[in-house]
Symmetry: C2
Subunit: 368 residues, 2 copies
């Protein structure tokens, strides 16, 4: 039997981030049955903590038993019927993915585009269709490091449901689910929540809840049935076996975030992002994302050939950071592969010490 390596890393890619230390303790908890009253207690408390982090009173607020992409699928498959008009803002890979997911659910997808690296124009999104069933936008585009404005979409949505991808924004920058009028929002555990990947926090407004289709195409993600297990309705009914250990981990990560305080957590991410972006520019690198809409937790930067040291290409620099310093950063996606880096500073990783380390290591490798 092979013994596998036990390497640790400073995780400054687009996710996962390094988990909060409380998560390791949580994984050591004894496994309980998914219907054990003491597990149900942890699950209920996890949902309550999620409500606090999402800034919502939504009763239907749960961890979906899959990664962030399962959250995206749950967010469409429970509302889209064949032919439903769905407006999707597309200025990066995850907006593209929304179009794909919605189309597979049978939606008539109306795309509103902005170039990668720039924010969407909210008015263009609102004007794209006279009566959309859903308006869907990515809050923090992990592919580009751009923040899209959500508040104007909530103000102008009319009868549409506002669906927002908060995978890379939740617990990193302000997300005001109720305050902005967001109807359906999902996230992932492995970004600013500081928990390993595996669950997709999801919250649903009462208004959206009333419009869940009777029999979604997906059994696994059917929120009518999941809500009956998660206690969001009256009696609890078995649906699938909850991923007990991952729920423990999420519970612990949320505990770390809330004990620090959401305002403080946002401030810490903002400070680290500023330090990182200033430092990269001082190294002579140019930021990719539009000023005014840069995410502090995910920074994208151009990698022109003239910044590369002799004998190393873009991927070679990342490999050197990984092998020499144990630091992971991410490459670009789509047409920006090989031409950009994506540097995350999320969750427990969002500490000034990690920014200082990354800048020093990068300067060394680039020979600056």
């Amino acid at each position: 039997m092979r013994r596998m390596p036990r390497t640790d890393r400073v995780l400054m890619g687009p996710g996962p981030s390094n988990p909060y230390p409380e998560v390791a303790e949580a994984f050591a908890r004894p496994v309980l049955g998914h219907l054990d009253p003491e597990f149900i207690d942890v699950l209920d408390d996890t949902c309550e903590r999620l409500r606090q982090v999402f800034r919502t009173k939504n009763q239907l607020t749960i961890p979906v038993s899959g990664t962030g992409s399962a959250g995206m699928e749950a967010a469409f498959v429970n509302w889209v019927e064949p032919g439903s008009p769905v407006v999707v803002g597309v200025n990066g890979l995850f907006g593209e993915r929304m179009c794909d997911v919605a189309a597979r659910c049978g939606a008539e997808v109306v795309r509103v585009e902005a170039p990668w690296g720039r924010a969407l124009d909210p008015q263009a999104v609102l004007d794209a269709h006279p009566a959309p069933a859903i308006i869907a936008v990515v809050h923090a585009e992990t592919s580009t490091g751009v923040r899209n404005d959500i508040e104007p979409l909530g103000a102008g949505k009319g009868d549409a449901l506002l669906l927002v991808d908060c995978v890379t924004s939740l617990a990193g920058i302000p997300v005001e689910t109720d305050g902005w009028g967001v109807d359906i929002a999902y996230s992932g555990t492995q970004k600013c929540l500081g928990v390993p990947p595996g669950l997709a926090p999801l919250t649903v407004s009462e208004r959206a809840r009333e419009r869940i289709v009777e029999r979604p195409r997906s059994w696994y993600l059917d929120l009518n049935m999941i809500a009956r297990y998660a206690g969001a309705t009256g009696a609890r009914t078995y649906h699938h076996t909850a991923p007990v250990s991952m729920v423990y981990a999420l519970h612990a990560g949320l505990g770390a975030v809330l004990a620090e305080g959401l305002d403080e957590v946002w401030h810490r991410h903002a400070e680290c992002g500023r330090l990182l972006q200033d430092g990269l520019q001082k190294l002579g690198l140019e930021l990719f994302a539009e000023e005014g809409h840069r995410l502090p937790e995910l920074t994208t930067v151009w990698v022109p050939d003239d910044v590369l040291p002799p004998g190393l290409d873009e991927a070679g620099v990342r490999r050197t950071l990984l092998e020499r310093h144990g630091i992971e950063i991410g490459g670009g996606l789509g047409e920006y592969a090989g031409r950009t880096w994506r540097i995350g500073c999320m969750g427990h990783t969002a500490r000034p010490r990690n920014v200082a380390l990354l800048l020093a290591a990068l300067a060394e490798v680039l020979g600056r």
Copy 2:
């Protein structure tokens, strides 16, 4: 901030079971990026270990990023097209669930029933439709404790794909994916594999692989894309972020099973099941499942009123076992709720000491 309880249990319900001790070590491993070469190494080794446990050479053998029910959905959504004739054997809750899942994928479902507690008649399953696209059967019915015979279905399947639910059978009783001609099989981690719930091992024959639909209705479970990430084709392409820690846990549980040896693990489950079933009968209880098709790892037993002590109903006995002894057993499902128990003895829980404990505790609570 509430401190949540740290109760431990002897998990003898229908799952989760108590994890193998190796799993706790695995959860303590540092989280790596899902594209980190060292994580990819663990993932590849996990797939290889799964091949050994499934007894298959299938290249496309992976852990699906969801619980066993996600495995079921993946097993249908990648092959069913609107109108596909799908024969489903139904002799318990999970056969029923297959019908629901297949129907949501658009299948023309042909049900072949047997009473709960009895095995399916393989010939009736084979005769149900002249040219089914898929024949789907649950190997080990967790709702009833019945084993259905798979080998005759493989021998007689003709051009159909044979799809088998191995959630409660894998690593508990023999599963011969290649030997029996199974085309699509999935399992869950929280039963005989002795790992917490959260992943669904899945294996796909070359024959089935050629018939995957071009664009499944589910993006999250699209095996065309997942295979490109899991390395089952050439170059590795990002799909979703793998649940890193759960993959570690599965890797470790599989390691425990393979270090002991599959034959030995099957033998241990068989012995524990025999001890348990003999012991229950000596307590005057009647087994629910048909003789000759009883699962050793999941035993169902009738609970007539006259075995109950004064003042305790069926649920009261389970509650007393849980609160006084920290032992979880399961209640019946469907029309057998309140009238049967389901007692699991799976994975690391399948030890004679746990059988002895359960029988002693049950005798005490029943006043025998």
